[in-house]
Every structure is written in C-alpha cells, then in structure tokens.
C-alpha cells in the first residue's frame, strides 16, 4: 500500500492538516501537498480509467507530465474537469472525482474493451467504421459518442474571474530550478531587466530531491540564498505558479499564472494570462523522465523513478512498501537510496545494462540491495495494483528467471530535455546518441526580428544531466563562474526501447507507450507495417501523443519504436511538432475579462437612453445596439413591428439612423476618386444634391451601398451601411495611400460625430414644419436634395431621401444635439400620430419597396447587374473598381441568377434562404436548383408574405410558379413577380 511516512517531507507542514474528498470519501493531507501526494498518502493509488480500454490507472509522475491522474475538481460553479492532480495544490475542502468510468471507478463496464483489445488495434477508427456507410450515423457514432470524451462539461457559469496582464523584460528565464536561478542571478547582476518564472509553487526544481550540494551546502540552502539575492535586485521579478505556455514570433511569450487555484473563493482572480514581450528567453525547463516499455507497465503502482523519489522526499509519501527499481541508467539508483533512507524496502534494482559499476550502483549495493545486471521485466503481475514482477534477461525473449514480490515499481528509461518552448517558434533539435535524447541544436535556434537567436536553452533543458554539468552549462552560456557541486561520475545509459529486447507479440500488446490514449508498442509497429512511415501520420493513426498530456512521456519511446520498425535511425524519423500550450490552460484565462457586459465594446447612439426607456427591444448590428422595435406593454415583437409599419405608412414614423456610416471625402481630386470607388458617377453630382451609389470590390462583387451627398465644390459625404463604415473607410485609405497616392484627397470617418433621424410618412413634412426653422416644402427641398439650417433649435442638415418609400427626411445634427432633436420631434409629431420604429420595420418597408439590403441580397458573390442595378452603373466611365472583373465571361453570362420578387400562392411567408428546385439531379445526385430566397417577410401593408430572391433567368419568367421545398417536407409554391410590391410609381415619396 501507499502511505504517509511518519517523518520527513520537505514541502509539507504537518501542523496544518487539510481535509478533502475523493469520490465522496473523506481524506486528509497537509499544507504543501499536491492533490497527488495527498491521495497517495491516503492509499488511493487507483485514480482513473484509460480512454479506450478503461484500464485501471494510477499515478505515474509527480509533475506536469502526468498522463493518468486527471480528476473533476470542485463542484457547481467551481467545477472543472481534467485537472491534473500532480499540479493541483491541496486546499481545505477540495473535492475531487475520478473520470472516465461507469458505473464506478472500482467496477467499470467499459473495461470489457480491454478483453476485446485485440479487436481494437491502432487505426481501428479508420478501419472499422468505413462501411457500410449508413452504419456510421446510426450505429457507430452514437456508441462512440457515448463512450468518448474525458470528464464532464461544467454546467454552471464560472464563479471565478480571470485577467490578462502584460509584461516586458530584457530576459525571461523560464524554470526556477538551479539552472534558471543561476541564469537569472547572472543576468540580474549584469543589470538586465529579468523576469524569472516557475510553474510550481517552489523554487529549486529537482536538485534538493536529488541530494545535490552546491558550494558545499545542501541545494535547498543555495536555492534559498539565491532567491533571496534575486529578491533584493530591483531589476529582477520572480513569479511562481506561472507556466510559460507558448513562445511565438519575435519574443512573444504567453505565461499562465495560477493565482487562486489553491485559495478558491478568496476574491483574487483565479488565473492570469501574461502576454510578455521578451528581448530574449532562457529556457531552463529541465527534463522529463521516460518510462520503460515492458508488459504491464501501466498497472497502478508502476511509476517513474524520479517521481517515486519526489513523493518520498518532498511529501513523505511512500508509493509502496516494497519497490523494484528498473532502469537503464545510473540516476534511478538515487531512488533506491532515497527509499532506503526513508526506511522502505527496495526488493531489487533491475538494470538492463550487462555490467553496472560506478559510485551510485556501488552505494546501492553497499546498502545490501540486490542489483540484477542485464535483466529486464518480462511482465508485471497484478490488475488494479502491482503485486510482483517476473524478471527475465533483457537480451532474451522474456523467459522468466525469477519472480519478485513488490507493490511498486520505479522505472527509468533516461531523461528527455523539455524542448517545447525552444521548438514552438522554429528552434531545431539534434539527436544526442550518447545520451539518447533530442536536445536543442544551438546552431539552429528560433530567431527574432533581427534574425538573431531569441532563445538560449540551459541546464537539463539543454541536455545536461548532473548538477555539475547543469551549472557549467549555465556559466558557459550566460557568463560568470560555475559553482562546485557534489556530482559523481555516472556511467552512460543504454537505450532500451522495449523490454526485453526480443519480446514477442503477446508482451508487446501489453507494453504501453501512451497511457491516456491506450497506445501500445504493438499499435505503433502495426502502423509501420501498414505503411505509416511519417511520425506525424503514425501519431494520428494510432493517437500516440494526442491525449491531454500531449505525449510528454510517450513521444520519444513511440518514435524509437517506430524507427526500429522502419529499420532507420531515430533522427531520420524525427519528432512530431511541438505546439503550444505546454500544458492545458483554462478557457477562463483565455477569455480574461472579456465576458458578460464587457465581452466586447457596445456602441450606443446619442438617443439610446430614450429607446431603452421606451420599450426598445434591442438587436446587435456590428458593435452597435439598435432598436429592433419598440414594444408596448403586453405587445409581442411581431405586433409591435406591424404597428410601427402601418403607422409610418398611414401617419408618420421616426427611425434612429445614427449608426449609418458617414465618411467625408474632400480635396481637389475627391470627385475623380469617388468615380473610381462607385460604379456610378459622383463627380458630376451638383452641390446640394444626393445620389445613390454602389461600391464593388476588385472582384466585381457588390460590397456596400449608400447615398452620396455633395456638400461643397470639393467635399462629398458618403453614407455607408451601419456595419460597413470602418471597412469602407479603410478601403478608401488603402486606395489613396497605396495606389493613387498622388491624388489630393482627404477622408474622415465622422460616423459618430452626427446623430441622424429619419422622419418618414405622409405627415412627415407637417412634423418638420411644426418644429420650424427650415423650408422643407416640396419646392424648397425636393426629393434627393439637401439643405442646411436650424431645425427646432438644432444645427441640422436635412436630406430628402427615402428608404421606406414614404415622404421622408433624414436629419443629421451634431451628436450632442441628437437626443434633444429626437425629443422635439416626438413632441411636435404627437398631434400627427408619430411613433418611433425600429430596424425590423425599416427592413420590411424597404423590402415592400424592392430596395436591396447589403448582406441580404448580397453575399460576396453577387454583382450589381444580378440585382438589376444597371441604372446605377456608368457606361461612360473608362474604369471603376470592379469594372474589369464584371467583364469576365461568367459575370456577363445571361444564365446568372437575377433578382425578382416572389409571392406564395397562398399568401404565406417563404422561409429565409430556401432554394428553388429545378428538374433533374447534379453529378452528386443532388436535386438541381434554380434560385434562392434572399429576403422574406410578412408585409402588414399588403397583408401577405412577400419575398425577394435570385432566380435563373428570373426577370424573363414573370408569372411563372416555382417550387421551394422547405424543412419538414413542405413545398412552397411561389410566383415570380416584380420586386417592387408597394407604390411602384413612387407617388407616396414624391409629394
């Protein structure tokens, strides 16, 4: 069993016990524990089930590389799935639950997959579910969905808050072990602005656990002194619990600080996402120990040797009473020594190397521990817990030499430098044959904007193994003098990729490479046999390294097995791509403060407050919020819209049109410029008049529309759609700055400088006349003209333009006067029956008039000619943006779908976006189509459904009835009609 030792534990405070629960069971740990050490101390070895076979799984590691021990942590609004217990600090009241099992952790029905494992080999997704075709949707997918996925989705809104922070430093040192501390100290002394970050809550890394002495004192003391010295430097910032998640272009480093994970509910932000710009980055990220591939290496109780040492030394937790150490290197002997020192039994050290000499093995032998040379593990005994091992010759095929009882196995296959940050932004790796590891290739570093290296890897992250090597490497690369340590000489490791070397298929089927995704040695070999020669393809075929641990333990072993199967050297196989984040970061941290009311900026018009106080039902339009309709008490949205339309048609309505884009174009060449921008001619527009214009992109497609106003000899005002103002302003600047830079033109986006109100309806003139101050008579202000003056005390520009088909004025006033004018109009209009109307009424009224709407009738593939807008396209102009594109044969084809009106035979409303079908089927066996609906509404004016659509040869087919099948099998029959449903002669607006 695993248990808490009576004494020791450098990180725990036994005077501060903490209570927590696992699957509802009460347990106790100490301040300083991780959830992993606390669980292990409470003899909870079985922590979860694997993804595919639902095999029992326990802790393997003690840090971020842990593949198995994921739990659902917290409850309610603080629940989060897939939390790694090895990186979760214990806190009072923590509540954890295991995942991926049904009905219970101890008894799992899904484990039947394990029995039938031989029928679920690598790539089984691709093989099994191909045929028959229908079976995917009806049989396979529902079953897979049921069993797929890790953890549960949180059901409540996250109770915590998150934030972004920005950091700048000459040098960011990632990793607070002795290498990182030494590097930061040297850079700090040189006066550089240094940021040192460490992912755990503690400084010092592995050195204190490994019994390192620096300058004649224990590493722990050296660490303490160094941190103190760094703390006194004004130019150095230290930050624990901060994980460098990714390194991107030009020294952009993302770091994830877990501020409040261990103190939930204390009011501080839970996580902070640091967006750091680093002059240079030092990666002192250490190394991760590799598992060994022997049969049954996934049974709970089999752990990494370094992790076993960590649990014993850091947290005084023993993973087992009787441990077998299995290794191919000297370092694992430190685990045997640490266990013995804690009074635990080491049954044997099984070393794959034929002959083992050296200081560490000698020290172990001196303790009376058996060292078995040239031996391996043939098989692990046990199911939910290790009960023993079968020993064999490493050079053989697995014949049992002896059996050793044990309840824990500490394995070490050597160490792999953590090269993620080095690799994220283009740093290359080289294979170090002597150490059997990929390490950073200093000749091919990631480069910054100056073309120079932006990362230096130091210490174990650079392939150094002993403390001496680590500190010498830091001194060599960072400057300064390396401190002396108590390192002893270590013999070279012997690469061992499977154990025993001649293992047959039965054993290989039980050798796990990827614990979380259940990928075994046999799966990778199968992939190689089936032709997956690229490591990237093998990864995807077998799912090796695709779990939430992203292959931190499995990648090197997996690609070594693949290389062996392909009979090629490991560097020839290469590695898969390292991508950020290094370990998963929370969605909350990514969102930061951007949630709820401040998810995005909200643009409000000057009259917004009035709308809110008068029943406005808002809708988002870009970042603006606009009034969809004004609801009266007890009134539904659709009734409100219909009332607003009928009132505007019969009396008078008011629309807040302030969001309309307003761009000033000014200068001696402004007219020439606008002639290029619009399909029509704007240079000839007389001062005082307005003209409707269309803008296309260079591909010929309609991009925006609006009324252009000539303000003075050299000044035009271009109205754009509400969502298009910034885009069109940028479009103008692009052409002025990059193509016609010798043209003398200025532009300005004045959208927010003006409030704009449309007053539309038979009584519109009466309302303005009552307000007084300007001549708005038919003669004084004819249609498509504008005048400037003072209206009701406000400085106004009045345009006689109509988007509703009614007698209509649009009045622009300085934004500061918008609310006053709105209120004045409401008051003046009372006796004439004025009512405000919203965007939906505007949309329906324009559709009744057959006016197009950008985004409804256009979708980026529609040219003005499709919409019968040839009248707005100049035939005289030699050029305008989009003209050349519209000359292409497909654009000029008579077979293009063209705009028409559509009217259902029974008066019902066509569904939006439905297609009109034609006879026959296309090459894919799909029904041919001949048109689609672009706008469709119920018209309260005409008391029936009206629609517009694009139909093949539409304008030539007036009166023809075509079919629109809709969801649920219903077929709408609609007649092709003129798109102008209301007042085609314009009698209503020209009065």
């Amino acid at each position: 069993m695993s248990t808490r030792l009576p004494k020791g534990g450098r990180l725990i405070d036994r005077t501060k016990p903490l209570n927590f629960t696992f699957n509802g069971r009460r347990m106790q740990g100490y301040q300083g524990d991780t959830l992993a050490s606390a669980l292990l101390g409470a003899d909870q070895m079985l922590l979860g089930r694997s993804f595919k076979y639902h095999r029992p799984r326990g802790l393997v590691a003690s840090g971020a590389e842990e593949p198995n021990a994921l739990v659902g942590l917290g409850t309610g609004s603080r629940f989060e799935p897939n939390q790694r217990v090895t990186t979760t600090e214990l806190f009072e009241g923590a509540s954890a639950a295991s995942q991926n099992h049904w009905p219970s952790l101890e008894f799992d029905v899904g484990a039947i997959n394990n029995t039938f494992g031989r029928f679920l080999p690598g790539g089984f997704y691709y093989k099994t579910f191909m045929f028959p075709r229908f079976a995917w949707k009806h049989v396979f997918e529902p079953v897979i969905r049921q069993s797929a996925g890790l953890g549960k989705v949180p059901q409540d809104r996250d109770a915590d808050r998150y934030e972004y922070a920005y950091g700048f430093a000459d040098l960011v040192v990632v990793g607070g072990g002795v290498a990182g501390l030494a590097a930061a100290l040297q850079a700090g002394k040189e006066g550089k602005r240094v940021l040192l970050i460490e992912q755990t809550a503690h400084w010092g890394g592995r050195a204190p656990v490994d019994g390192v002495e620096i300058d004649g004192r224990p590493a722990e003391d050296w660490v303490k002194a160094t941190v103190e010295a760094l703390g006194k430097m004004a130019n150095v910032t230290l930050r624990t619990r901060t994980m460098a998640s990714g390194l991107y272009d030009h020294g952009y480093l993302l770091a994830y600080e877990r501020i409040g994970d261990h103190t939930p509910g204390d009011g501080r932000p839970r996580h902070r996402l640091w967006r750091i710009r680093a002059g240079h980055v030092v990666t002192a990220t250490g190394a991760i120990e590799r598992p060994l591939s022997f049969a049954g290496n996934d049974i709970p109780g089999v752990m990494l040797a370094g992790a076993v040492r960590d649990y014993v030394v850091n947290w005084a937790v023993s993973p087992g009473d009787r441990t077998v150490v299995v290794t191919n290197n000297d370092d694992a002997y430190r685990t045997a020594l640490a266990l013995t020192e804690a009074g635990l039994i080491v049954a044997a050290v099984v070393d794959a190397r034929a002959s083992v000499t050296g200081a560490l093995p000698d020290a172990v032998r001196a303790k009376g521990i058996r060292v078995l040379e040239g031996r391996g593990i043939a098989k692990v005994k046990g199911t939910k817990r290790v009960t023993g091992v079968s020993i064999c010759a490493q050079a053989g095929e697995g014949a049992e030499i002896e059996e050793i009882d044990c309840d824990a196995i500490a394995m070490s296959g050597g160490w792999s430098p953590v090269v993620h940050l080095w690799s994220h932004c283009g740093g290359k790796l080289i294979w170090d044959d002597a150490r059997a590891m990929f390490r950073p290739d200093a000749a091919k570093p990631p480069t910054g904007d100056d073309g120079m290296s932006m990362v230096t890897a130091v210490g174990s992250a650079n392939g150094a193994l002993t403390a001496d090597e680590v500190l010498a490497d830091v001194a060599k690369q960072m400057g300064g003098k390396a401190a002396k340590t108590n390192s002893v000489a270590e013999a070279a490791l012997e690469p061992v990729w499977i154990m025993p070397q001649g293992a047959g298929p039965q054993l290989k089927m039980k050798m796990w490479l990827d614990y979380q995704n259940d990928v075994k040695v046999s799966d990778v070999q199968l992939a190689a046999r089936e032709g997956y020669h690229s490591v990237e393809h093998t990864k995807r075929y077998t799912t090796l390294g695709m779990a939430t641990d992203q292959g931190k333990l499995s990648n090197i072993n997996g690609l070594a097995v693949l290389s062996d199967a392909l009979s090629q050297a490991i560097p020839q196989t290469g590695t898969t791509t390292f991508r950020p984040p290094y370990t998963p970061i929370s969605m909350g941290a990514i969102a930061g403060e951007a949630r709820g009311d401040i998810f995005q900026p909200l643009r409000k018009t000057p009259m917004d407050e009035w709308h809110g106080a008068n029943g406005a039902y808002f809708e988002p339009v870009g970042l603006w919020r606009r009034t969809y309709c004004y609801q009266r008490p007890g009134e539904g949205v659709h009734e409100a819209v219909n009332r607003e339309i009928l009132n505007a048609r019969e009396k008078v309505g008011m629309l807040d049109a302030s969001t309309l884009g307003k761009l000033i174009v000014k200068g001696p060449d402004a007219g020439r410029f606008l002639d290029m921008l619009y399909t029509g001619v704007m240079s000839t527009l007389p001062v005082g008049k307005c003209r409707y214009g269309l803008m296309c992109n260079e591909n010929g497609f309609l991009s925006d529309d609006g009324v252009v106003v000539r303000l003075s000899e050299d000044t035009w005002l271009c109205h754009t759609t509400s969502g298009g103002a910034d885009r069109i302003h940028g479009w103008m600047e692009d052409w002025l700055q990059c193509e016609w830079w010798d043209w003398k033109v200025y532009t300005a986006n004045v959208t927010e400088e003006y409030a704009q109100i449309a007053v539309a309806g038979p009584n519109a003139r009466k309302v303005l006349e009552k307000l007084g101050g300007m001549d708005v008579s038919a003669e004084g202000l004819p249609a498509m003209e504008w005048r400037e003056g003072v209206l009701g005390g406000c400085r106004a520009r009045v345009y006689r333009i109509s988007f509703s088909g009614e007698l209509s004025y649009e009045i622009a006033v300085p934004a500061s006067e918008g609310l006053a004018l709105w209120k004045a109009l409401i008051a003046a209009g009372e006796e004439f029956g004025v009512m405000p109307y919203g965007t939906e009424a505007m949309h329906i009224m324009r559709a009744e008039k057959g006016f197009i709407m950008i985004g409804d009738e256009t979708d980026g593939t529609v040219i003005p000619q499709d919409l019968n807008l040839n009248w707005a396209i100049s035939k005289k102009k030699a050029d305008y943006l989009g003209k050349r594109a519209q000359e292409r044969s497909h654009m000029a084809s008579p077979d293009r779908w063209k705009l028409v009106g559509l009217e259902t035979l029974d008066g019902s409303v066509l569904p939006d976006g439905v297609y009109a079908v034609a006879d026959g089927v296309n090459a894919n066996g799909q029904r041919n189509v001949q048109g689609r609906v672009t706008s469709t509404y119920y018209s309260p004016t005409l008391k029936k459904g009206i629609a517009m659509g694009l139909v093949k040869h539409g304008p030539d087919r007036m009166g023809e009835v075509i079919d629109f099948p809709a969801d649920g099998g219903k077929v709408f029959k609609a007649k092709i009609v003129d798109q102008v449903f209301y007042d085609k002669e314009g009698a209503k607006q020209n009065v």
């Binding site: 991107y248 952009y252 480069t447 073309g451 940028g730 692009d734 830079w741 003209k883």
Partner: protein
C-alpha cells in the same frame, strides 16, 4: 505576433495594432487588360519560403499603410518603408541581398 516598426509614426507596433494586407508591389490591371493579366493581378500570389514583401496597415495607430520586407522562414524583418513606391528602396534590397545571397529579387 510580429513586431514591425511603422515608418510613418516611428512606433514599434505589435501585430494586434496592425492589419495585414497581403502581397506588396502588385500592379493593378483594369479594363482593357487581358484575361491573363487580370487573373495574375487578382489571384496569383507569391508564397515564398524566404524573403517576402507585404502590405501592413498601422490600423490601431496612425492609420497608415506601409510595406515590410521579411523572411517567412526565420521571421527576420529586413525593413519597413512607406507604401508610396512601386519598388523596394535600393538600400533595403542591398541589405537583403547581403543577408540572403541567393535571393532572386522582389519581382
């Protein structure tokens, strides 16, 4: 997350302040051009692994469009310059040539 120096306002601008505008030094073809010319202008874009010229706008800064020469493989920035030119400045071309002797020129 590139950093580019805006040649107008002098600000060292981060990518979040910038708007990308695709390949630089395109020649516009309008009415009267052949289908091949128009096709080339509209659709054919270089995608080199190496030296590339790009349009960028300091959108959340001074608003100006400028051009940048950089290496798409190493992310090295050779220089930025105003957009009002039809060819990269001679000194910049010389600098690129010295750093990338095999570079075949911007055309």
């Amino acid at each position: 997350m590139l950093i580019l120096d805006c040649p107008y306002c002098g600000v060292k601008a981060e990518e979040t302040e910038l708007q990308a505008g695709g390949e630089a030094h395109l020649k516009r073809y309008g009415p009267g051009s052949s289908d091949e010319e128009f096709d080339g202008y509209m659709f054919m874009r270089k995608n080199p692994k190496g030296v590339h010229f790009e349009r960028w706008r300091h959108a959340y800064g001074c608003g100006k469009w400028f051009l940048a020469a950089r290496c798409t493989a190493t992310l090295e920035v050779f220089g930025t310059y105003p957009a009002q030119t039809s060819a990269p400045p001679a000194d910049l071309q010389a600098k690129i040539k010295s750093k990338r002797p095999n570079w075949e020129g911007y055309k």
